[in-house]
Chain length 411, copies 2
Amino acid sequence: MSITLERVRAMDAADPLRHLHDRFLLPDNIIYLDGNSLGVLPAGTLRKQQDMVLNQWGHSLIRSWNDHGWIDAPQRIGAKIAPLIGARPHEVIVTDSVTVNLFKLITAAAALSPDRPVLLSEAGNFHTDLHVASGAVDAVPGMRLEVVPRDAVEDAIGPQTNLLLLTHVHYKSAARFDMAGITARAREAGARTIWDLSHSAGAVPLHLGRDGAELAVGCGYKYLNGGPGAPAFLYVAEHLQEALTPLLRGWMGHATPFAFSDDYVPAPGIARFLAGTPPMLSMAALECGIESFNGAPMEALWAKSVALFDLFAALIDERCSGHALDCISPPDPDLRGSHISYRHPHAFALCQALIADGVIGDFRAPDVVRFGITPLYLGYEDIWNAVERLARILETGFWRDPRFAVRGKVT
Amino acid sequence: MSITLERVRAMDAADPLRHLHDRFLLPDNIIYLDGNSLGVLPAGTLRKQQDMVLNQWGHSLIRSWNDHGWIDAPQRIGAKIAPLIGARPHEVIVTDSVTVNLFKLITAAAALSPDRPVLLSEAGNFHTDLHVASGAVDAVPGMRLEVVPRDAVEDAIGPQTNLLLLTHVHYKSAARFDMAGITARAREAGARTIWDLSHSAGAVPLHLGRDGAELAVGCGYKYLNGGPGAPAFLYVAEHLQEALTPLLRGWMGHATPFAFSDDYVPAPGIARFLAGTPPMLSMAALECGIESFNGAPMEALWAKSVALFDLFAALIDERCSGHALDCISPPDPDLRGSHISYRHPHAFALCQALIADGVIGDFRAPDVVRFGITPLYLGYEDIWNAVERLARILETGFWRDPRFAVRGKVT
């Protein structure tokens, strides 16, 4: 029995989260399924930026560090992320980028077990994680990076393993690791795990505390809707915070930054992982992005994500069969994140044709089209319309137009 | 013969840079002599931020990485900073913070001379430089940090010296090092110098190429008017770029960031010093800040800075003698930057009283009041009025009011 538009509209009508859509400024005539390299603009962000620029910077100037709480922003925004990832408020801080934060955590945590020389990660992990890991191991005496295929990761954990660096939800396939199981497996072997939550935070329910996670980083510009290149977050479980001494140090992470003392003394707790002065305009936008989750429980969002994903997959099966689209994302919701990806021999051109037709997904080299499922602002009819357009593009061969072969710098 | 208000107004009337004042939105009834922890708001920044948020992010979304040149912003903005510091466009890039950039340069450059174990710096250097240095040396096998008094720095350069880390203009005293002389002295001894230009860029004429500087970092939120916590810049002379391999690595510094390859291959040239995704809202504000220098030659700005400083010092001598103000900034313009600092036994309360009276300088622990001299938007009569208010505060003892003893988190 095929899915009807009527049935899809009934799903929207029954959606208890439908009103959240109004919290965002969405572009006209676009179905935004970017998955998810840049979240959409929350409606409150424009006014907040105007206040930041004109009043807080322009008028109050340097006084805003105290008067408008700039100096506490890394902790304050971190505490707002905490409930989205199942952490306690003082275990999360906003600072720098995912890359820089991974460097901080790898180098600080590796030093706790100087007799264990291996940083273990997954081949095909998001590449910045592997790049930063390749340098970070050179900063720790005797350390080396071992990269093994995904299905060999668990067996590779052993007495040499110092740190395990994994991305919780894979950027390409959306395959999700079992955080509790793997963290426990590593801990039994005497190793610690660093989780990259870039495709998880704000997308799937996370319970870092309950699942025993000790170290994590994540992205502000994807599902948290913090704006282009928004600062990242860093998580350290309370019991580890005082044991870690950052190798990458700066005045904002000093115990007394305004005493201007030559000697480095780490700040108590998570604040020691701050380094330089935070980019406040971008920080303010991130804070607005996180506030767009207010009153929307992650469990409810996740239930809707699952339903949107399943609808997408079912519609593709019905409407696009015979067009060489091969789903690489797990059918089991417990094993996946909040995006759905397909292999296609002409994935790049297909993605460009979709964009030209108002459906924004992303191409991921060499042959994947990825669609983000963001329950905060997507409806079921959006999914219907996206698949309709994709089916038409495939049926008509629209994607063969030569203009869709031209690549920009960011593809 | 005392200086008259008439004479000061004549200086404003004859000022060829007076029109630059209109490029900025200055708060009413405030004389802004912050020196210079946060530059003022350029008039064009508000509109640019609105365009960034509403159009580039909100409307164009992920497409803006190509369509609005986000992906090239680190290089493009770096190239705009280059003429302000006497560098070539491809030698400067905007990324991360001063702290993180120092870590990148120290760790990458130290590896070039593995037989030289010493990173040499100045006691009382801006503290984040010493904090980051203390960690960076631990990331390089055998390396150690040596910190010596300012007047002992040159003599301490020797065969053990790998890197010399100096701040060109001292954040507190404004004392300026001889860039050409010290860089040459270090090079003769086989050492390289990293210059922190945080209090120099946009403040004093810089000729990095001419003066033989090879490595430098600098701040975007001070004299470049890039907004609170604006991203920083990093300079590497062309001849060194390919020799340096960053220890802190990320996808934006990869040769092919969108090939998503596991292996790290540094980008050609300066781009290898990028790491994570840049915070675009803050990047855009920095670009506006730098554009506020358009058509204003650094030499003309510097001549005005010298005249403003000399007027300030002369008026203090005339109006505030006998009040224990002790100027710690060099009288010789060639030996200083663009701020003037005074020791005073009650510097904190004095600074707070000045702020309450509409003159914003900064307190620098333990006993310094610092006044920034920013020729882009300050006039001679501003200096007159600031000193008048300071004289009145000293004469009346207004600063003794108990409310001026209360410290905020940022002091």
